[in-house]
Symmetry: C2
Subunit: 233 residues, 2 copies
């Protein structure tokens, strides 16, 4: 199938639906190929740069290649963004580090939440889910085009990083009018195992969101949202 050939040849990934395609174009991240129905193209012609290769097709054909339960009239092939450890600079801002987040919906929601709070760099351990997993892409709601996400040995990186590092844990200092520094790294661990002991050992602070009920833990994305809101407020 043509779509698969493209994806293999050019290291592309697929985005589906008006929301993601519009966000990509708004961020000047241009698709290698845009596939849409005649109706969609007519309504959106002015927002598609001339350089973008466009294929007009039927809704029936889109339904054949879509991975969504409710296919949408537009999808696009995008080039993957290479982010290497050498191209990021986290020394002047707050960043997020994710240790072993494996659920694609959670991972995408974390990126979307980080974007809301102005975080643009996310450091991931190698066992986090792939950024280009379709469920991750969909749940970022477009934030994927505004963020630098890189995968590496998180322990080695954090061990050599001089910023304050805050670990979100279940048995740390209670978050209660905490005075946050102006820059640092917030470290979020996997839901089932938490932050790995090696990565935790690199952190200077362990912080806990107070509980008033009986549930054992908070979802990792919820904890990220609460902590980033507190850091930025």
């Amino acid at each position: 199938m043509k779509l698969k050939k493209y994806r293999q040849n050019y290291e592309d990934f697929v985005i589906e639906g008006e929301k993601l395609v519009t966000e990509a174009l708004l961020e000047n991240v241009y698709p290698d190929l845009l596939i849409a129905t005649a109706d969609w193209l007519q309504a959106n012609r002015r927002s598609i740069p001339e350089a973008v290769q466009v294929v007009e097709t039927s809704m029936a054909d889109i339904e054949k290649i879509s991975s969504l339960s409710t296919p949408q009239p537009v999808l696009a092939l995008m080039k993957k963004k290479e982010v290497s450890i050498n191209t990021i600079d986290i020394t002047q801002k707050w960043s997020l580090a994710l240790d072993g987040i494996s659920d694609p919906g959670n991972f995408g929601t974390i990126l979307r939440t980080a974007d809301w709070f102005g975080i643009d760099t996310v450091l991931c351990s190698n066992d986090c889910v792939d950024l280009y997993n379709p469920k991750v892409i969909q749940s970022t709601m477009g934030s994927i085009f505004r963020m630098s996400v890189c995968y590496f040995d998180l322990h080695d990186y954090l061990a050599s990083c001089n910023l304050p590092k805050y670990a979100a844990v279940l048995d740390g200092e209670m978050l209660d009018n905490h005075i946050w520094p102006e820059k640092g790294v917030l470290v979020i661990g996997s839901e089932s195992h938490g932050i790995s002991s090696k990565v935790l050992a690199t952190c200077n602070h362990a912080i806990t969101i107070p509980s008033y009920g009986k549930s054992e833990s908070l979802n990792a994305a919820i904890a990220t949202g609460i902590l980033l809101h507190d850091i930025k407020r």
Copy 2:
């Protein structure tokens, strides 16, 4: 199939996995039927009350009836809890109202988050996803057994309720050292459409979580977590 017969006859629902079964037993919510492997039963015999009917079976049989991608050695049939509008009293505490939350994972995560912050009553519009949807149950992580969740005409209920009602919206008063009252209702709307205009009209306050980036909105469960943390802090 036996499982289906039970479910139809007794208005039961199925919970799967050690985490959910253990949480139910801890809350003294006893299954109508507990189905488990011999190994699991041997290891957990002491935590199963005598009144509970137990069926020992093989992992192969559990795999046949499980709806999980990774079946677990225990599942149980539970009776649905009837919560009517007349049995709840929200006048002395904070409660949560959900208007049109249709994503099961989101809905379950919202219940789990509410439980963390000590909220035990959740008011739902009739177009929210069903509480007993399997994905909802799994993502509550057991909080479902500690909460009263009821479905009704949310507009009528809120219109006749004299508590302060706070709507989470994208264009309201910025959340910034807000002084929250001691009791009230936090209203969260669907991600695609927000709070319906009818329900919004019943609210006394409209509040917004400040953004520092470019993403258009926050996930409904993340917004719930941030607001409940702020209310309870």
